[in-house]
């Protein structure tokens, strides 16, 4: 007793097939504090957590939890000890109902049998507390990523835990949902529960974390009080050198006067899209802003031929087009890097090189036979360009860290050299350094004449990169901002009210 730390990990080491990914890491969390674990993609954050929760075994080191030494052999043991975890990978089950996903493994029982009525009831209440009013008896997979994430959060706070771990729980949430989550975290804290928080979004860290630990390449850099650090200092600790041009918000907009490439008019589809218009010129980077459910992803899916439209028209180079299949769209020079990369993007048992070239086999084949050297060369180029942390082009993608998997999928689409690329949340889950490199790459390809539609919930990303930002609201155009008008304030007020507050931009 009297121990102020809920968790003390000492000298933790871990290797995956002779590659050492954790070097004698010390890590501790105080009781009732929110502690952030920071580091670049592949620094070893998720691995450290999985050792704590018994998913991976450790090669060395000790773990003290609540003053007692523990050796969790599986997730259940960790749970029983009082550790509740939201993993970075989707760790729920799509075919089961929302309510069951929250309660499975610790069902409410009556006379020894599962009490579905109570489970559904309680789930509904719990989600209502998270600001979510959905049918909990429907299967989880019928909801989008954000809702699934909220369900995972609901599950994690239901356990009687002393420590709640959130590995990038916010990456697919929008601002409002993050706010709700932060309120919950504060409540947990008030009850003396500790929270281990991982996120690549720095503003979140500075808002919620009391203290933080930085890892770099599997080694401990240090432990700090958040209040003692500036954003720049934190970033340079994470990347290991000065962070001068990384954290600054620098605009790069240009006036694009190329010919019109894509024109979308009055697109209606289902209940999500209620008449949307969009024009993109050659080499232009157009941002799409809006809340979840505003119709951003839905619009992209219709353009790409994944979903049908009920009404409206799409022109490319002045000719009307109608794609019935994504393959047709790809044949027309379009590319779509979807937001749900975990589910839609990764082929786990293939190598990085294969994963990159899978949508672009022609490029790396000769007479229909794959040319391995070429395939590897393409992979190598992108491993360097966007700093994919890997042991080589032939590593299986499933063995990369979450952020690095995303980079591979991004490389897949970028390497296709399309005429037009839709990037849906391209830097979600990607560390600050790599974020900058990805943004540079996006601007580079647009300078080559590739048009880009950039969907992002991070205003800074839109501000830094877009020539124009189209704001959507409730399936309709709320307004358009260009150049200097693209500011956080303007975007926010367009999202909230459909109007720009002070002078400046006007919707067209």
């Amino acid at each position: 007793m009297g121990n102020e730390y809920i968790l003390e990990m000492k000298g933790i080491s871990k290797s995956f097939s002779s590659v050492k990914v954790l070097h004698e890491v010390d890590f501790r969390i105080k009781k009732g504090e929110v502690h952030a674990l920071m580091g670049e993609n592949g620094a070893g954050k998720s691995t450290l957590i999985k050792i704590l929760t018994g998913i991976y075994s450790r090669d060395g080191g000790t773990i003290l939890f609540d003053g007692k030494e523990i050796h969790p052999a599986d997730a259940l043991e960790a749970q029983k000890a009082g550790i509740s975890t939201i993993y970075q990978e989707i760790s729920l089950i799509g075919q089961l109902s929302v309510a069951e996903n929250i309660y499975i493994g610790r069902e409410i029982k009556k006379h020894g049998a599962i009490d579905w009525k109570a489970i559904n009831e309680k789930s509904r209440e719990l989600l209502a507390g998270l600001g979510l009013d959905i049918d909990v008896t429907k299967v989880l997979s019928s909801y989008g990523t954000a809702i699934q994430q909220m369900v995972a959060i609901a599950r994690s706070i239901l356990i009687d835990a002393k420590l709640v771990i959130m590995d990038e729980a916010t990456s697919s949430l929008d601002d409002d949902e993050v706010k709700i989550l932060f309120n919950i975290i504060r409540k947990l804290k008030a009850q003396g529960i500790s929270v281990l928080f991982i996120s690549h979004r720095l503003p979140e860290i500075f808002e919620i974390a009391d203290s933080l630990t930085v890892l770099k390449d599997g080694s401990l850099v240090g432990e700090y009080r958040t209040a003692d650090l500036t954003r720049k200092e934190l970033v340079s600790k994470m990347i290991g050198h000065d962070a001068e041009n990384i954290v600054e918000v620098k605009r790069t907009y240009r006036k694009v006067s190329g010919e019109e490439y894509l024109k979308v008019s009055d697109i209606q589809s289902g209940i999500k899209l209620k008449g949307l218009n969009l024009t993109i010129h050659r080499g232009e980077i157009v941002g799409l802003a809006g809340l979840l459910g505003a119709g951003r992803t839905e619009l992209a899916r219709v353009i790409f031929g994944i979903d049908r439209k009920d009404k409206g028209e799409i022109w490319i180079d002045g000719k009307p087009v109608e794609f019935k299949l994504p393959a047709h769209a790809i044949g027309h020079g379009l590319a779509f890097c979807s937001e749900d990369r975990k589910v839609e993007g990764i082929i786990p048992n293939l190598t990085i090189a294969e994963n990159i070239s899978i949508a672009n086999m022609k490029e790396v084949s000769r007479f229909g036979v794959i040319h391995h050297a070429k395939q590897r060369a393409v992979a190598k180029e992108y491993i360097e360009k966007i700093r994919i942390k890997t042991t080589g082009t032939d590593q299986k993608i499933k063995n990369l860290s979450g952020g690095n998997q995303q980079k591979v999928i991004l490389a897949r689409w970028l390497s296709m050299k399309p005429d037009f690329i839709i990037l849906d949340e391209p830097t979600r889950g990607i560390d600050v350094g790599a974020k900058k490199e990805i943004e540079d790459l996006i601007r580079e390809i647009s300078a080559e004449g590739i048009s880009v539609l950039l969907i992002s919930s991070e205003f800074e990303e839109l501000i830094r990169n877009c020539d124009r930002v189209e704001v959507l609201r409730d399936g309709k155009n709320a307004g358009c901002l260009r150049g200097e008008e693209i500011t956080e304030n303007n975007i926010m007020s367009l999202i909230a009210t459909g109007k720009v507050e002070t002078g400046g931009g006007q919707s067209e």
């Binding site: 929760t53 998913i55 599986d74 997730a75 259940l76 960790a78 749970q79 975890t85 993993y87 990978e89 989707i90 760790s91 729920l92 089950i93 799509g94 075919q95 089961l96 069951e100 499975i104 493994g105 069902e107 049998a113 599962i114 579905w116 008896t137 599950r155």
Partner: protein
């Protein structure tokens, strides 16, 4: 809840058609209590196996050893009737449990894919059945008259095998829907890694699914032996495929995570009804029968998938 009931609609409609149409064509010959009991008794053994198979398939597995287990159980049962009826019933079931445990161990612990693991076990078990019988049929002892009740007897006018099937069905329906073990089968089949991370005992519960299947197959073997009055080492051949077909026709996805034992009942009923109708037609060459059976199964599955797609 209502939705759940509607979901099984597809196959129950097929069953209705398979009852109404032959009733019109064959009249009493088909639509009678005798024939109904015939169909039900026919399907009771495959039904039992299919219930176990459903659990296994829910975890995204498969059990190819069930037919061989039936054979071994049947011959063991016949041999033991010499000693006592009690042993003749329980030892074969224990043997089934043991075979299931072996399957479970190989699959859950040694992490061998179910298809290969149970195929190997199938060969071994069938081999044992051959060896202990010398590939000869073994008759049930004359002193064990009461043993025949299990397969041929009636209780309250209902065939006993049918009652056993109904009892197991109700229990397993409950287990799948209302117990942690049952739900974990769905979770494992849905996403094994996620299930593990949720703290579900994946290996243990998977193994239990195979043990249950083994137990039900053993029981089916005992019933078969009782009905025929003999244990035949060649019996149960191909039953694993009949069971898998029944599970699939019922609407349980072979990829795991979706389905249930009540759905499987409809699948078993459909195959049993088709078999019965072909039989009533008489004078049809057995090979032709098989072709017809295959064709009908295919049609039913296509309809099944269509209705399922619409629902989701």
């Amino acid at each position: 809840m209502l939705k759940n009931k509607l979901k099984i609609g597809g196959s129950w409609i097929a069953i209705l058609v398979l009852i109404v149409v032959p009733s019109i064509i064959y009249g009493d010959k088909f639509f009678s209590t005798t024939n109904a009991f015939n169909v039900l008794r026919q399907m009771s053994m495959i039904g039992l196996i299919s219930i176990g198979m459903t659990c296994v398939i829910l975890t995204a597995g498969i059990d190819l050893s069930v037919g061989a287990t039936v054979a071994l159980a049947a011959v063991l049962s016949a041999m033991l009737t010499e000693k006592s009826v009690f042993l003749a019933i329980f030892v074969p079931v224990l043997a089934g449990i043991f075979i299931g445990a072996v399957n479970g161990f190989i699959i859950a612990r040694l992490k061998i894919v179910p298809f290969i693991a149970t195929l190997a076990v199938q060969m071994a078990v069938r081999g044992i059945a051959y060896i202990i019988t010398d590939i000869k049929s073994i008759s049930v002892s004359e002193h064990a008259a009461s043993f025949a009740i299990l397969g041929r007897g009636y209780l309250y006018g209902i065939p006993i095998p049918v009652l056993i099937l109904a009892l197991v069905l109700v229990i397993m329906g409950f287990v799948c829907q209302r117990t942690s073990f049952g739900r974990s089968l769905y979770a494992i089949g849905g996403n094994e890694d996620a299930a593990k991370m949720m703290g579900i005992k994946v290996a243990r519960n998977k193994a239990i699914a195979y043990v249950l299947t083994g137990a039900f197959s053993g029981l089916a073997g005992v019933i078969l032996c009782s009905r025929l009055g003999a244990g035949q080492p060649l019996s149960g051949t191909g039953w694993e495929m009949d069971a898998v077909a029944a599970v699939a026709i019922g609407g349980t996805l072979l990829s795991g995570g979706v389905g249930g034992v009540w759905k499987t009942l409809s699948g078993v009923l459909i195959t049993a009804l088709i078999g019965n109708i072909i039989n009533l037609q008489g004078n049809v060459n057995t090979y032709v029968q098989q072709i017809v059976m295959g064709a009908i199964v295919l049609v039913v599955i296509i309809i099944q998938r269509r209705t399922q797609m619409k629902e989701s």
